[in-house]
Amino acid sequence: MQNTNTSQRKNPTHEQNKNILKEAFVKSIPILCSYLFVSMAYGIMMEEAGFHWYYSLLVSMSVYTGAFQFVFVTLLSSGASFLTIALTAFLMNSRQSFYALTFVDEFAKMGKRKLYMIHTMTDETYAVNCSLTEQGETKRGLMFFVALFSRCYWMIGAVLGGVLGQLLPFDMEGIDFCMTALFVIIFIDQWEKAQSHFPALIGLTAAVVCLLIVGPDYFLLPSLIITSAVLMLWNCRKERDQNADGIA
């Protein structure tokens, strides 16, 4: 089985490749809608702060995160210290450490693409990766191209925003809701196939409670820490119960 997979990866037929590309593009359409317009807003904001499109492109290419890039504009233009920048990046992006936990095994099988997959792990690509039902090399191919496309959308948007700025004749306010819609859909999918709804409910509860206590700017990290802690305890208890049942 392992051999077939490897040979498929080395010599995939033209047809297979085309199908994976097409499927990856379809999966990435919600990300396209959201990234293109959000990163255009980012490019405009950078331009207004005095940073031309090539700076927006550089940040979008090398840092590649959503919310932090917007805060980063303010940090850069006010000349914040490296310590402030480092701490802000750490606090705003540490949630993404949790995402890798789900894909450690999958990425390990991806060879040279592994580093790229780690670099491109955003909230949105994580969500789409979680929604894939394909298996094996097909899944890994899809994951790679979804990541590649998404990063391109983000960079293209940032450059367009910087170059075109506010020349855009149409008002696209609200288009970024498509990302919320995608999260809701993936949530429903996960809910329907889950054996237990406890993980979803604990995530929901922890997030709302943290949001109300910590406020909107920094609640993601505490939410994820609490959720993970509770889920680890829950896993332990489940295992103990199963063992106890086995003995009885």
């Binding site: 359409i29 005095g50 700076y55 940040v59 840092v63 940090l75 233009s77 006010s78 000349g79 490296f82 920048i85 480092a86 750490f90 992006n93 450490s97 949790f98 995402y99 890798a100 936990l101 894909f103 450690v104 990425f107 670099h119 994580y126 969500a127 979680c130 306010e173 609200g174 288009i175 809701f177 498509c178 919320t180 819609a181 995608l182 999260f183 809701v184 859909i185 949530f187 996960q190 809910w191 889950a194 993980p199 979803a200 995530g203 929901l204 922890a206 997030a207 709302v208 949001l211 109300l212 406020g215 609640f219 993601l220 939410s223 994820l224 959720t227 993970s228 889920l231 896993n235 332990c236």
Partner: protein, 134 residues
């Protein structure tokens, strides 16, 4: 350049010291920006790679983390939805109604048809119309 720095100094009082640092090396602004970008990029990548940095080769990821990784997606999706709707949750006056109605549109249409793109288009359209009408 200096006037720009002064106006920043006035608006961002807490960062006065840092702005002064930059003013001292105004010629090195490009270097500062490039170093700052590099710093942010390295930290972000390291955070994303953290589990891989800790567990590789002989050091296998412990069983409890593997199990956590398996149940996390459902929980994280809930957290991300709350993140998207944070303005509606913390303050009911800031377009909470369009967000709630649009989320309901997505949920109900998806339960009904199970068509991802249809639900995304319907929900986003409802949202974009409502924020302009309400």
């Amino acid at each position: 350049m200096l006037t720009a720095l002064h106006s920043t100094e006035n608006t961002v009082k807490t960062m006065t010291a840092e702005v002064a640092n930059i003013a001292a090396g105004a010629g090195n602004r490009t270097r500062y920006v490039l170093l700052a970008i590099l710093l942010a990029a390295v930290i972000t990548f390291a955070l994303r790679a953290l589990p891989f940095l800790i567990f590789h080769g002989e050091r296998k990821m412990p069983e409890f983390l593997v199990k956590l990784g398996a149940v996390l997606p459902a929980a994280i999706m809930a957290v991300l939805i709350v993140y998207c709707l944070k303005s509606a949750i913390t303050d009911w006056r800031t377009n909470a109604l369009p967000q709630i109605l649009a989320v309901l549109t997505v949920g109900i249409s998806y339960k009904w048809k199970h068509n991802t793109l249809l639900s995304i288009v319907a929900g986003t359209a409802v949202y974009m119309i409502l924020i302009r009408v309400l």
